[in-house]
């Protein structure tokens, strides 16, 4: 007992010393005292002046790296979505020789688990780390829904490479989204393209939808349903499954009872795999066509779904429309990771990272060896991005955070892609007609 007391006394003293030091020293990265001016200080050209900013300034002492972070799902069945986007980020860093403003770039990551709760937790960890300058993420729209308030309030700005829920960059989004932009397309476009494809190209008039309750799937299937109905089609059923559900027999029976010609299932790998694998066994679903969206565009899904996936349609960004630099990117990817990209959002990740790093270069100021990055100015610089020549197109950010240049196409899985080993289709079978 006494031994513990001795040690705890030492601990108490240490803590007190630390606490005291904290309050004098101010901490290496704590916010600089904000001036009463509501505008961030002008930083360009003014050397040797420490910037102030109402959202705070990140101070990076001499020799320390610039800390950037990626957040989004990196584990579990949907991990390939996040890993894909993060690799785009990593290659973008490599392309700059791993340095920014003469400092090394340190990249850390927080797993968002593809759930709103995971996103909320990850956001809190990120907000608590005062060395972080900028963020790329999240991966699943749910993570953004859960975490964006915390991130915005911490003065951070994040650019997502793969969130597609329309509401995230809608004109009526609230102020908690001030720190949020994306390079991924909005599903207002993807859902509409899918509906056009099904109604006009396949000539089908009835369809059922399934979502998994996620922000992404729920909104996308609704866009599809609305567009499909507007074109003249009929939605026979809109069902939901739970994340983690394995037995799909009941939901498939319910859908079969409504007799659709096509099942639109814009969900994620695990549940998507279960539905496709079991759809072959459900009476009445043998001749129903299946269609998914970019969330299922991965070899993990093909692997999980098994042979039943043959013939399935998937909507996704049109890689053939990407610029020449994309081929160089693919070569760099192959060299660094020894495999082709896992999903569809690596190029968006690359573009998002470059937009972020360009903005950091623009606002960073070095005074006496310490690098200062004002957070509010950084946010403004990102929003001000115009005509950025990215892999996915020429990108300009809107005032609601939409930096995308969407080109959506439809792909089909054939026996070649089913494998084994499963591979991703390379050429789309259908592009929407030009407006």
């Amino acid at each position: 007992m006494q031994k513990y007391m001795r040690w705890s006394a030492i601990l108490v003293v240490l803590m007190l010393v630390l606490a005291a030091c904290q309050s004098d020293g101010g901490g290496d990265t704590s916010e600089a005292p904000s001036t009463d001016g509501s505008q961030p200080a002008e930083t360009e050209g003014t050397a040797n002046e420490i910037p102030t900013d109402e959202l705070g300034v990140v101070e990076i002492p001499e020799g320390d790296p610039i800390h950037l972070a990626f957040w989004g799902v990196l584990s579990g069945p949907d991990s390939s979505l996040g890993v894909d986007a993060q690799r785009g980020f990593e290659i973008a860093i490599d392309d700059r020789g791993g340095e920014l403003l003469g400092r090394e770039i340190e990249l850390s990551s927080e797993d968002g688990l593809c759930t709103p709760e995971g996103g909320a937790t990850a956001a809190q960890k990120l907000a608590a780390d005062t060395t972080i300058v900028g963020l790329i993420g999240s991966v699943c729209s749910d993570e953004t829904v859960g975490g964006i308030k915390t991130i915005t309030e911490a003065g951070l700005t994040t650019i997502s490479a793969s969130n597609t829920r329309p509401a995230l960059t809608a004109e009526d989004r609230d102020e908690t989204f001030a720190g949020y932009l994306r390079t991924a397309h909005s599903d207002a476009i993807q859902g509409d393209v899918a509906a056009q494809f099904v109604y006009n190209e396949l000539g089908l008039t009835t369809a059922a939808t399934v979502h998994d309750g996620s922000a992404y799937a729920e909104a996308l299937q609704q866009v599809f349903a609305d567009s499909f109905t507007a074109l003249g089609g009929t939605i026979t059923a809109q069902e939901a499954v739970d994340k983690g559900q394995t037995d799909m027999s009941t939901v498939l029976s319910t859908i079969a009872a409504s007799e659709p010609e096509l099942l639109y299932m814009p969900i994620f790998t695990a549940e998507g795999g279960f539905i496709v694998a079991q759809s072959g066994d459900a009476a009445g679903l043998e001749d129903v066509a299946l269609m998914g969206a970019d969330g299922l565009f991965s070899t993990d899904f093909l692997e999980a779904a098994g042979p039943n996936v043959e013939g399935m349609y998937l909507s996704s960004p049109d890689f053939s429309a990407f610029g020449d630099a994309y081929q160089d990117f693919l070569a760099a990817h192959e060299e660094k990771y020894g495999e082709p990209p896992l999903q569809v959002f690596h190029a968006h990740g690359y573009d998002a990272a470059n937009i972020l790093m360009n903005a950091i270069e623009e606002v960073g100021v070095e005074v006496d060896g310490t690098l200062y990055i004002p957070k509010g100015a950084l946010r403004e610089a990102i929003y001000a991005t115009t005509d950025h020549e990215g892999l996915t197109g020429t990108l300009s950010c809107s005032e609601f955070g939409d930096c995308s240049a969407p080109v959506i196409a439809v792909y089909q899985i054939t026996a070649t892609e089913v494998g084994p080993p499963p591979v991703l289709p390379t050429a789309p079978i259908w592009n929407p007609p030009a407006e």
């Binding site: 584990s75 579990g76 069945p77 991990s79 069902e239 939901a240 499954v241 739970d242 983690g244 559900q245 394995t246 037995d247 799909m248 027999s249 009941t250 939901v251 029976s253 319910t254 079969a256 009872a257 409504s258 790998t269 695990a270 795999g273 279960f274 694998a277 079991q278 072959g280 066994d281 459900a282 009476a283 009445g284 993990d300 692997e303 999980a304 779904a305 098994g306 042979p307």
Partner: protein
């Protein structure tokens, strides 16, 4: 704190509450079923399809439930890690199946397919038994005379260890079971019934019958029953209690391993978390049938499978409840709670000591 009046009041209140609960449940079931059927969204074929799904799933639950019920009967302990033993079996069967598919045997001929499935089941059972005995040796045996909560917590720990060991070994990904074309062949019946359904129900029945005969007719089975009845007396009778308990774990694990393969063949996938939910469901099935009671576990499994499959649609669809399949587990767990409240000894009655505290 005095006052028998207060006590009388709460007694009456509780009785009234329980009656209200009974009536509410019956109302939901009767009115819901009536509404659903009268709306006619589902054809007769759809109902038969659901019933078959329930039967198939129920057979798998029943096989897993046997392990729970036998271990509970003999040690009065909820083997929380049993679901993971089942998952291990599913992986064992997966690797055997991949090997056989690679060798070109799995899909070569229906007879070879069936033989392959038997091999997969044997591999799965062997793996499950090995892991189960290891867990028993490390996590349960040292605690055999400890108070009840101690082995339960240890079992929860073992469950985590197994799940995350498999996750560490195999990664978090989902493994697609090798496809066996022959299993999808429909049988010549007026409704949709495939070879797979027959295979699952058939092998479950055969294994359960075998187990029942083993427990009832053999010397080892007699020893198991004796130990479950009274361990100290069994020792006096010259029964090797350790061996008998290990045998009980092994038998339960073999059934769970086999169930893992059947589950994989049914749902085509396996990953490290596969065992958790079916494990809890199977325990529910064991309680439903009356814990410690082997035929009870079988009946409980089938009953649970059917209620899960038909229940949500039959009881709830008529009320206009959206996405009833999400409430499948709600129906199952509600039934569990109701059974525990109104008939705690299960459908067939439990076969363990009344003095369980």
């Amino acid at each position: 704190m005095n006052g028998s009046r207060v006590e009388r009041f709460t007694d009456v209140a509780i009785a009234a509450f329980l009656w209200a609960l009974r009536i509410a449940v019956i109302l939901v079931v009767v009115v819901g079923s009536f509404l659903t059927i009268s709306q006619g969204r589902f054809t007769g074929a759809a109902w038969i399809g659901l019933a078959i799904d329930g039967l198939v799933l129920g057979s798998i639950y029943a096989l897993i439930a046997l392990g729970y019920t036998m271990v509970y009967g003999i040690l009065r302990m909820i083997n929380f890690a049993h679901g993971e033993i089942f998952m291990a079996g599913a992986f064992g069967g997966y690797f055997a199946g991949v090997f056989l598919a690679g060798a070109g045997i799995l899909n070569a001929h229906p007879v070879l397919s069936v033989l392959s499935i038997i091999v997969m089941i044997c591999v799965a059972a062997a793996l499950s038994v090995a892991i189960s005995l290891l867990v028993e040796r490390i996590a349960y045996r040292p605690l055999r005379n400890a108070p009840r909560l101690v082995p339960l917590i240890s079992a929860i720990g073992a469950s985590f260890v197994l799940q995350y060991t498999f996750r560490g070994f195999l990664g978090p990904g989902i493994y697609a079971y090798p496809d066996i074309d022959f299993l999808a062949t429909p049988l010549p019946l007026p409704f949709d019934f495939r070879v797979r359904d027959l295979l699952i129900i058939g092998s479950a029945v055969v294994m359960m019958a075998g187990l029942y005969l083993f427990v009832m007719r053999t010397r080892y089975g007699t020893a198991m029953r004796a130990v479950s009845e009274d361990r100290s007396t069994a020792v006096l009778m010259g029964i090797d209690v350790n061996r008998t308990i290990m045998l009980t774990f092994a038998m339960g694990a073999a059934m769970a391993g086999a169930a893992g393969v059947l589950y994989g063949l049914l749902f085509r996938q396996v990953f490290f978390f596969t065992g958790f939910v079916p494990g809890i469901k199977a325990f529910t099935a064991a309680v439903l049938g009356g814990i410690g009671n082997i035929p009870g576990a079988m009946l409980g499994g089938l009953f649970l499978g059917e209620v899960e499959s038909i229940g949500p649609i039959l009881f709830l669809d008529g009320f206009g409840v959206p996405s009833t399949n999400q409430l499948k587990d709600v129906v199952a767990f509600t039934m569990l709670v109701l059974i525990l409240v109104f008939r705690p000894s299960g459908i067939l009655g439990e076969r363990v000591s009344r003095q369980r505290a």
